[in-house]
Amino acid sequence: MKYAYYPGCSLHSTAKEYDISTKAVANALGIELLEIPEWICCGATPAHITMHLLSLALPVKNLIKAQEMGSYEVVTCCAACFSRLKIANQIMCKDEEHREKVEKIVGHPYKGGVKVRHFLDVLVNVFGLKNLKDHVSKQLTGLKVACYYGCLLTRPPEVTGLDDLEEPHLMDDLMSTIGAEPVQWPYKTECCGASFSLTKTDIVLKLSADILQMASDEGAQAIVVACPLCQSNLDLRQPMINKKYKKNFNIPVLYFTQLVGLSLGIDRNKLGLDKHIVNPLPLFEKVPV
């Protein structure tokens, strides 16, 4: 299995551990990830709020670069990049008026020929859970996790086409496969405040506090995420949430790739577990990994 890999800006800075653990897991499972050379930012939320055409041109430029590598499918880990790449791809497929304009901007014809996938999708639907189960060497038995999908992994469903809109289960299935116990909770697709992290921090603190509260009420020992922005809002801001709402949350927020990596027997130090603000290591003293 060979894929063109689009890490996105976060995975090279605030979410380094996501990048490290993704590569480690892919390596262990024989999935080849070839980083798109000289990839550029997808524009994220600021682009589509400010300039519509720019928010299409930036992702399309990356997709063209991927196509030039030899028409691989593109894999990305960031939910926001995934959403932007997919939306741009779909518009290039269906909307001729926009396609013409974007082609003029990037100076290259593109008809939406590259398929975009999230790494979660690759792991569950392409590699397959049965296949994965054969590779698992250490079951994470007794670890109760709350799988948090956030906004852009499932929405809008006609674009992402990944999972159920209101009750997604891809990550839950994955966690069951590696032996962890996913809790049933209603906040799987609630919003954490996302891009307001710097601009309207009070909103982020409230929404993230609600999510942490619900997860801890349902008895989760950790929250599992697939988006670097969700992770930073829930993990990095957790001390601030505790201070503002007088709570005592101490819930590690982990990427699904880190837990899969642990179950595959990859060394802890190679999964970036030391990079979290809320230390996840005490968790694995209770659970023999």
């Binding site: 800006c9 990839w39 055409l53 809008p156 469903p157 996302a194 710097l198």
Partner: protein
């Protein structure tokens, strides 16, 4: 809330322009309120999403564009994916924000989001990839909250989650070209970081607030 809506307002081309530009049938909305029920930020808004849509239907351009509500949308797409009339409400919010910014109708208290967006895009234009340290520093400086989140910085550096220097891509001219052309084709102004008047007014507003707090 009571408004007098004149004949001219109802006849104004606002609704038609918006429907043409976004390719969304806003006139289809029958005010079920599902968008507002699911909106995670509705507790903070001056108008709810369904109210904004109704105001658009009635052609109330001025009230819509100067509302705080449009700047509170996180683009989580809950409204879009639940709308029974299949209206992409989040896309309409994007459109309204772009229009409000172009017409300089952003309320003074809501300058942070457009300021952040402009700094973010300028950051990408000059580096190709996001340079977080530059983004946060510039944003704090221009929004007048110099020491916001400073307590997080040491941990971020220690864990090597944020770098002091940007990672530039080699083909920067390509990136600049994309920005230039999209600005030209989309008829969007991108030369200025943010209307300097707006930055100045916002900074003075914060200073006055601070002085009043001291009293």
């Amino acid at each position: 809330m009571k408004w007098f809506i004149s004949h001219e307002t109802i006849k104004s081309p606002f609704l038609k322009t918006l429907e043409r530009d976004c390719a969304e049938k806003i006139s289809h909305c029958y005010q079920c309120g599902k968008c507002s029920a699911g909106c995670p930020i509705s507790y903070k808004m001056d108008y709810l999403p369904n109210q904004i849509i109704r105001m658009v239907q009635l052609g109330m351009e001025e009230q819509v564009l100067s509302s705080k509500m449009i700047w509170f949308c996180t683009s989580c797409l809950t409204c879009t994916s639940r709308c029974p009339r299949e209206i992409d409400i989040a896309e309409i919010m994007d459109y309204l924000r772009r229009r409000a910014y172009r017409k300089q109708m952003t309320p003074l208290a809501e300058t942070e989001v457009p300021l952040f967006n402009k700094i973010f895009l300028r950051n990408i234009e000059s580096n190709g990839r996001l340079y977080e340290f530059g983004l946060i520093g510039m944003f704090n400086l221009l929004s007048g909250e110099l020491f916001k989140d400073v307590s997080l910085a040491p941990r971020m550096f220690l864990k090597r989650k944020i770098g002091l220097l940007p990672h530039r891509v080699n083909n920067l001219s390509e990136v600049k070209e994309i920005f230039r052309k999209s600005g030209k084709l989309g008829k969007a102004k991108r030369d200025r970081l943010l209307h300097p008047k707006l930055i100045f007014l916002n900074l003075s507003r914060k200073l006055i607030e601070r002085i009043e707090n001291l009293k």
